[in-house]
Each structure stands twice: as structure tokens, then as C-alpha cells.
Symmetry: C4
Subunit: 245 residues, 4 copies
């Protein structure tokens, strides 16, 4: 059996607490956007919680980096994690800290071996819908020409975007809102791809079951085996009379 | 031959009457929406018919539960049926009783072994188009800002939504209408997936027919069989002169 | 060699003249829509040409019906042709005669064995785009609320519909225009499916080339053949000393 | 080892300089569109650079034509390159010179053997987004009814078009802008197809790994080999006593 390294043990043990922290982040992110007007105390508390969760993920990254043996390779393979950890520190990109959190949670979730691709994609889609709605709402609500002013509008707009329906009754008007929207559109294309691929793979697997050529091969091999068996019997009959007289 | 259980016999015998009841439900659901103004007598009659059909499906669920041997497993495997039976009893969700009916009919239809996936999907799409149009019409017609006021508009909107074209000349404005719309959008993605998968599976099945590697294998097996046959002839020739002298 | 029936010979010989007539129909259909104002003489001439072409296709159908041996089966297998022939005779459906013509041309084109599925789909898409644009233009131009008034708008709208982009800057407002639009949308989904399926089939065909399991099988069969060959040599060696002394 | 022809050596050696020139073209094309108002000197300089790059590609085409042995076949196989070289010389099509440049760069990029299909498609999509945005902006900015007036709007519109979302908040209104838009839509469908096909191929490759029929075949071949081996042992035992006495 392969020896589990200290890094792998750490990742398995911290998997669940980090997922719990991700839920805490989600709540702390949603509250100041959904509750309006939000009191200054509540707003400050939520921001603090967000930074604490970010700190926990940053600490997790550093511990994993410390536990691994080949650090250069670790940084190269997990450069996206590094970006996600550093991103919120840059002042103009602070609004994108929700993307940073989604990336960190997503990359940790994919490590859990029991999570299959389809589950992962569906989870990502639900996460993107939720956070995409909230993020676009927080950005567009303050825009003078914006037309996404309530949570209901934001969720509805997310769905029309991700399914590529795009009615255009609601659409982001600010630069940041549009960057978030492009993310949702690309996820929508990925979602469509996974749905189609799943159905296609299932269809093809059933088509292949009655593959005529392979069954003919199996029959040929079986009849050949029968032939050889009869040959052995003949050789055996040949050897017996030779010795008995 | 496998013994058919009482449950299976019941499901096969009630298949057709329940499908007939589904058509009755469809008519009773459509009439008060399409006929305007609808008289109070007709409206009451239609609602009664809807509840009778719901009752028949609920009774069917209970009989199947009674006939099965492993009840815990039955409830777990058919939890969606249970939801669909209970859903219309909850007052605020009564408007969703059409979804409940669609679900019950769909799950019974899938039991019929002669129904293939493609038929099932096409049937679901047609059903969703019809009922989606009617349900959205009934919800949006009373909305002051609504723009879906006639049956023609509703059907047209359903098509633009399900094919993910989404012109935006008509779009639901109420919460309930948007929930129904999201259902149509997701069905549209599934439809697109099934169409693509069907074509892809057919393409690939034709590609595989001229699989060079497999034909080379078949030839190798055949030449080997020839080799063994010649060997048997030699062994036979070897044994004959041995005995004759 | 299989004897070609009189029906097959007729179909091969009339293939090219009928395709030429289809082009004539296209021109006769397009001219009164594109040329505005159209003189009464030109309009009458174009309508006459359209009816002559329809007559040629109807005659072709009757000749093929006459030449076949099993008439019941022919009618059942070509019921769509029969509909397409009868459709324009019904007064309210005369505007749909372009669909009828497209159907007849499409079904004859598919008979030509050298036409592959992809060619057929691409041809259908181009045909649908052209005729969809013209038909919608002819319907919508006279509608008071219509927003498709020029040929450029109609072609542009056809493209946005078929690719499921659906900006909504132009959209049909009449019942007939919307029925034509639904046809374009469904073709768009089929087009998307064929494009994806083509790419997927090509990808998978390349994936399969390095199929490890099959190569292992081929190797096993080859080593087995070698084994049998050596066995034959031994048997030959066995038989020679037996006879020589 | 295969002898590399003079043509192949030329193509490999000029690959990188031509890609660098493509970047120069991109900058020279973007500057007069993004920088407004653009001075007459800068505008003239950029146009000059564009023509120099075009000249380099034209020269590359002529050199390759000169180095090849079968010129007729070269022209037939690279007729798209020839069109792309000639296109910008025709006065009314000069605005399409960006398409011409994209085509030439794309065809040279595909020659580099290390570029895989997916890389090629992703590269094309990014290139089309960039140049599509710029080209539509340069055309629509001067249109009185246009609604694409800034670079931000143009990029946003490109994304909504290519992902087939199509909100309709921005849409081209001129003929040339719409031709460019149709190019983006068709690329979007191709992109969707490649994404789906990639996922589907990956799914199916994993499905095939546990192909039961093939494993049964391998087992049958192995047991047959065992049978033949035992037969050889028996024949060997038969031949030994025959000779020893």
C-alpha cells in the first residue's frame, strides 16, 4: 500500500472544515447584499467574516506548501490557488474576492476523490448562479442606468444568461457586471457541453453493446478452441495405441 | 420465466386508464385558461375534474405502495411521486399542480417498456410546451406589467424559450411565471442535448463499422483457424499409416 | 447484380431536371418578394411558374406511384410527399407552398446516393435560410406592427434565429411568420447538433486509434499463431522419422 | 528519415517571424479604432504598416509557390490563401482586410504540428472576439442608428453573440457589421461544438475502458493459448518415447 504523505493527510482532514467555512463565507457575502438597508455594524461584521475565511484558505495554502516535498512543482501546479489567495489583497480587485473564494472552494472540492465530474459541474453551476446573481446585484444596483435592482431580477437574469436564452429584459450595464456575466455565459456553454456529453456517452455505450463485429470475433475464437480440443483428443488417441501393444 | 409480481400487473393494467385521465386533466386545465370569460359553473367543473384526476393518481400511488413487499425501498425510489402527490395539498403551491400532474404522468409513462428515451424526451418537450404556455398565460395575464396576454403569445414565447433563442419580445414578469420559464429553459437544454447525442451516436456507430484494427483481428483469427485445420489433417495422416499396416 | 426497377431508373433520370425546376421555383418565388413594386404581369407569370413546377412534382409523384409494384407500401413510406403535393391545393395553406416545395426537393435530393448527411444538412440550412427569409418578409411586410420590412432585415433575422442568438431587434409578429420562425429555430437546433456530432465523431475516432486493449488482443493472437506454427513443425518432425526407417 | 523539402524548411523558418508580423498587424489595426480622435499622421502610419504586413504574407505565398514542385496542386490546395492575398486589393472589400489577415495567420498557425485542434479553436475564438469587436466598432461607430459606440460595448456585444446569448441591448445595424456578426455567430456554434465534443470524447474514452466484451475475448484467447501449449507438451511426450527405444 502507498504511504499517505503528510500533505494528503492534511488535505483530507481539513476538507470538511474548509467546506463549512465556504458556507459561512457565502452567508457573510449574501447578507449585506440581500438585507437593505444594512446597518454599519452588520456590514463590518460580514466583511470581517469574509476576511477571516480568506485567511483560513490562505493559511491552508501555506501549510500545504510547507508539507509538500517538491515546492517548486507545488507552486507551478497550484498557481491558480496562489492567484486566488493574492487577488483580494489588490485594492481595485477586492470586488472580485467572491470569484477568488469560488475558485479556492472549487479546487479543494475537486480533490475529494468521491466527487465525480458531473457532480462537480452541477455544483459549480449552482454556485455560479448564486454568487453570480449576488455579485451582479451588488454592482448593478448602484448603477444609474442599471436594470437589475432586486434579488429576484438578478436570479432571473442569471438563469436567462446561463441557459444562453438571453431575453435582454435585464442585462448588466457596468464593466464589472459584464465581466461577471461573461463568466456565467462561459459556464453555461460548459454546462450545455456536459449535459450533451453525458447523454451522448450513455447513448453510445448502449449502441456498442450490440456490436456485431466483436460478437463474430468471439464466435470465431470459440469455434477455434473447439477445433484445438478435438485435435488434442486425436493426438491422445494416437499416443494410446502406440504404447499399449 | 420471471414471475410477475402483483405490483407489476397492477402497473400494466392501470397504464392506459391513467394516460386517458392525464388527457382529461389536460383538457380541464386548458379550458378555463383558453375560454375567456369563463363562467363560474365551468370553472368549478374543471377544478373538480382536476382534483378527481389528482385523486386517481394519489390512489394509484397508495395501491402500488400497498402491493409492494419492500415499502421502505419503494418510498425511497419513488420519492418524487410522493412529492407530486402531496404538493397540490399545500395551499400556496396549488398553482404548481400542473407540474405535479406532468411529473406523475411522466413517471408512469416511463414505466411502459416500449417507450424509448427519444420518444420520452420528445413527449416531455411537447407536454412542457403545451402546459408551460398555458401555465405562464394564466399567471402573466393578470400581471399589470405582463406582456403575455394571449394564447398565441404564450405558445410563441414557449418556443423562443425552449430553443434558447430568447428574442425578449415577450418574457414573464412575475415570480411564478419565471419559475415556470426556468423549467422550460432547462428542458430546452436537455432537448438540445438529446438531439445532438442522437446524431452523434448515429455518426459514431457508422464510423466504427469500418474499424481497421478489428478487421485485422478477425483475419488473424481466421488464418489461425486455417493453420490448426491443416495441423489436424497432418495428425490424421500420421495416425492412419500407423494403424493400417 | 441487382436488377434496377423501372421506378429506380425513373428516379435517377428525373433527378437532375427536377433539381433544375427547384431552382426555377426559387427564382419565381423570390422575384415578387424582392422586386417592389411588382407589376401585375410579372406577378401573374411568377405564380404560373410556381404552379407549373408544383405540377411537375405532382406528376413525378404519380409516375413513381404508377411504376412501383407495392402501391400501399409506397404511399405509406412516402406519405410526406403526398402531403406536400396536396398541401398547396387547400386555399388557406397556399402561403405554405414554399414549405411544400422545400419538402419535395429535399426528399428527392436525399434519394441521390452520393449526397452525404452533412451535405444534406448544410444544403437544407442554406435553403431554409433563403426561403425562411423570403417567406417571413412576404408575410411581415404587410403587418402594421411588423419590424421586418426589407430583405436585409429578413436575412439578418434568419441568421440570428437559426444560430439561436435571438437579439430581438427584429422578430415576427404575425401567426404565419411565427410558424415559419419555429421551423427555423428547430433547424438551428438540428444544425448545432450536426456540427457538434461531426466534431465529436472525429475526436472519438482519433481517440480510438490508440486503443490499448485491442492491440494487446492482436499481439495475443499473433503469439498464439506462432505457437501453433511451432507445433506443426514438431508434428512434421515426428512423422518423418516414423516413415523413413 | 524523410528528406525535408525546401518548401517545408521555408515554412518552419518563417513561422515565427510571420506570427510576430501578425501581432504587429493587430496593433496597427487596433490603434486607429481605439485611439479617438486619431491624428492623420498616426492613421497613415498604421495603414502603411497594415499594407507592409499584407505584403509580407503575399511574398510568403509566392515563395512557397516557387519552392513547391507541383504548382497546380499547391494552388488548388491553398486556394483560400490565394483569395486572402487578393481580397484586400479589391477596393470595396478593403474593410474586410482584417478577415483576410485572420485567414492567412490561421492557416499558417495550423501548419505548426505542435498546435492541437483545441488550441487552434481557442486561439481562433480569442482572435475572432478581438478583431470582431474592433471591426464592428469601426463600422458601427459612424452609423447614425448604431448602438455600438465604445470599445467596451463592442467587446460585450461580441461575447453575447459568440455564446449565442444575444441580449439585444447592442446589435449591429449596418450591412457590413451584420456580415461580421454572422461570422461571430457561426464561430460561436463551432466553439460550442468543440467544447461539447471534447467533453463527450473524454467521457466516452472513460466508458470504453471497462468494455466487458473485449475483456472476455482476451480471456478466451489466453485460455486457447494455454490449450495449445498443453497440446505441444503432449506431442513432445509422444515423440520422445518413439525415438528413445
Amino acid at each position: 500500500m502507498k504511504e499517505r504523505t503528510a500533505q494528503v493527510r492534511w488535505e483530507q482532514r481539513t476538507q470538511q472544515p474548509l467546506m463549512a467555512l465556504a458556507v459561512v463565507f457565502a452567508v457573510a457575502y449574501a447578507v449585506p447584499i440581500v438585507v437593505t438597508p444594512v446597518g454599519p455594524g452588520l456590514a463590518r461584521a460580514c466583511t470581517t467574516v469574509e476576511w477571516v475565511v480568506w485567511g483560513a484558505f490562505a493559511a491552508d495554502y501555506l501549510v500545504r506548501l510547507g508539507l509538500t516535498e517538491r515546492r517548486g512543482e507545488f507552486i507551478r501546479r497550484h498557481w491558480l490557488d496562489l492567484c486566488a489567495v493574492i487577488l483580494p489583497l489588490l485594492r481595485p480587485l477586492q470586488l472580485l474576492r467572491v470569484i477568488s473564494a469560488l475558485m479556492l472552494v472549487g479546487r479543494r472540492a475537486r480533490m475529494a476523490s468521491q466527487v465525480k465530474l458531473t457532480t462537480y459541474v452541477v455544483g459549480s453551476v449552482v454556485g455560479l448562479l448564486m454568487f453570480g446573481s449576488l455579485a451582479v446585484l451588488s454592482v448593478e444596483r448602484d448603477s444609474p442606468n442599471g436594470n437589475i435592482k432586486t434579488l429576484g431580477d438578478a436570479v432571473w437574469w442569471s438563469f436567462t444568461t446561463m441557459t444562453t436564452v438571453g431575453y435582454g429584459d435585464h442585462a448588466p450595464t457596468t464593466g464589472l457586471g459584464r465581466i461577471l456575466a461573461v463568466g456565467l455565459m462561459l459556464s453555461g456553454i460548459a454546462l450545455l457541453g456536459v449535459v450533451t456529453a453525458n447523454i451522448a456517452a450513455w447513448f453510445i455505450a448502449r449502441f456498442e453493446m450490440d456490436d456485431a463485429e466483436e460478437r463474430r470475433q468471439t464466435e470465431a475464437i470459440q469455434s477455434l478452441t473447439e477445433e484445438v480440443r478435438r485435435l488434442r483428443a486425436e493426438v491422445a488417441a494416437l499416443s494410446t495405441p502406440d504404447r499399449s501393444p
